[in-house]
Subunit: 196 residues, 2 copies
């Protein structure tokens, strides 16, 4: 999505969209004031008009917007008519497709920011943590035949592996690690369901 194409959106909306895309591409450095202004087409000097809390307020809104989209997708996946292994293949298959479509240039805004935190951006850690907790919660029902503690453990593990496989894929410029991770986890969860 090129934020500059969203000219029917308000400047404020375009700035949030530009910050999300910047963080997906290069973490906090991608959501710097100059980059957001340039990508959103918002007037220079308007950041503090729309976001009185400055860069961190913009970053927080962008993380929450990005997080909510992913949470909704995970909740939908968890409710889909499929067994847990099929759901995992679908999750990692979807990530692989998205990575290829965007030429391995974009990833996860939350992970990008979590690994970029410095003193001035430290309050964003809690924002990242809250989003990842919501993802775990949304994904947990996907492991339905397992007990509640196992569902939760698997959901947290899958979110971790999803983020790490994304790192591998961006570096390798190949979706293969993502597909392999989905396949291995699908087999492992199938084995646990069969043997418990």
């Amino acid at each position: 999505m090129d934020a500059r194409l969203l000219m029917d959106e308000s400047p404020r909306e375009r700035m949030v969209a530009a910050a999300i895309q910047g963080m997906r591409g290069s973490g906090l450095a991608g959501a710097g004031i100059n980059q957001v202004i340039a990508a959103s087409g918002a007037p220079k000097g308007s950041l503090y008009h729309y976001f009185p809390g400055g860069k961190n307020q913009l970053a927080q809104e962008a993380l929450e917007r990005f997080g909510e989209e992913r949470r909704a997708a995970l909740a939908k996946l968890a409710q889909s008519a499929a067994d847990p292994p099929a759901r995992l293949r679908r999750l990692f298959g979807g990530l692989a497709k998205a990575l290829e479509k965007e030429d391995f240039t974009y990833g996860c805004a939350v992970a990008g920011v979590a690994l970029d935190l410095q003193e001035d951006s430290a309050p964003l850690a809690a924002v990242c943590a809250a989003q990842m907790d919501l993802w775990v919660e949304a994904l947990e029902p996907a492991f339905a035949p397992l007990s509640a503690p196992r569902r939760l453990a698997w959901a947290r593990l899958v979110i971790a592996t999803f983020e790490g496989a994304l790192v591998q894929a961006r570096a390798l410029r190949s979706a293969q690690p993502v597909l392999e991770a989905g396949e291995l986890l699908a087999g492992a969860v199938r084995l646990e369901i069969e043997t418990h």
Copy 2:
């Protein structure tokens, strides 16, 4: 490690150490010229003297140095007198301890950079990929009773989960996701060994 304490090292060595620590803390932004000069105590303007290739040359050397340390640790773990589940618990337990010791402020230089890549730093993707491949290769023997393709699949998966659990831990400022990930993977690999 505070690079400024390493005054017995050459300025060049101190710059590499400072770049590693910066990337571990905040990705590429942490390895900017000003930050490396300040943290290393190297003379202003000396970056291009020591690194004619500029920022990317420094970043490449730092990634390779960081990567080699981790590779050696993984190779040692893979050869240790323990079974695969115990090795996994040791790997993730070690990460948990390191995170706590550094107050969740530092992580993996390679992941931090891989999620920060922009056009000018794009060549570093291959450097990150090469290091992660070496880690997978070093870790593969850790899954010894399994077949070669399964050892490789598990090694790649574990590196992915390691990186993603680190993201979760830094955001949550808690080592719990790391310990849980190690425990779940240890159980899953044990189940695969028992049933195959």
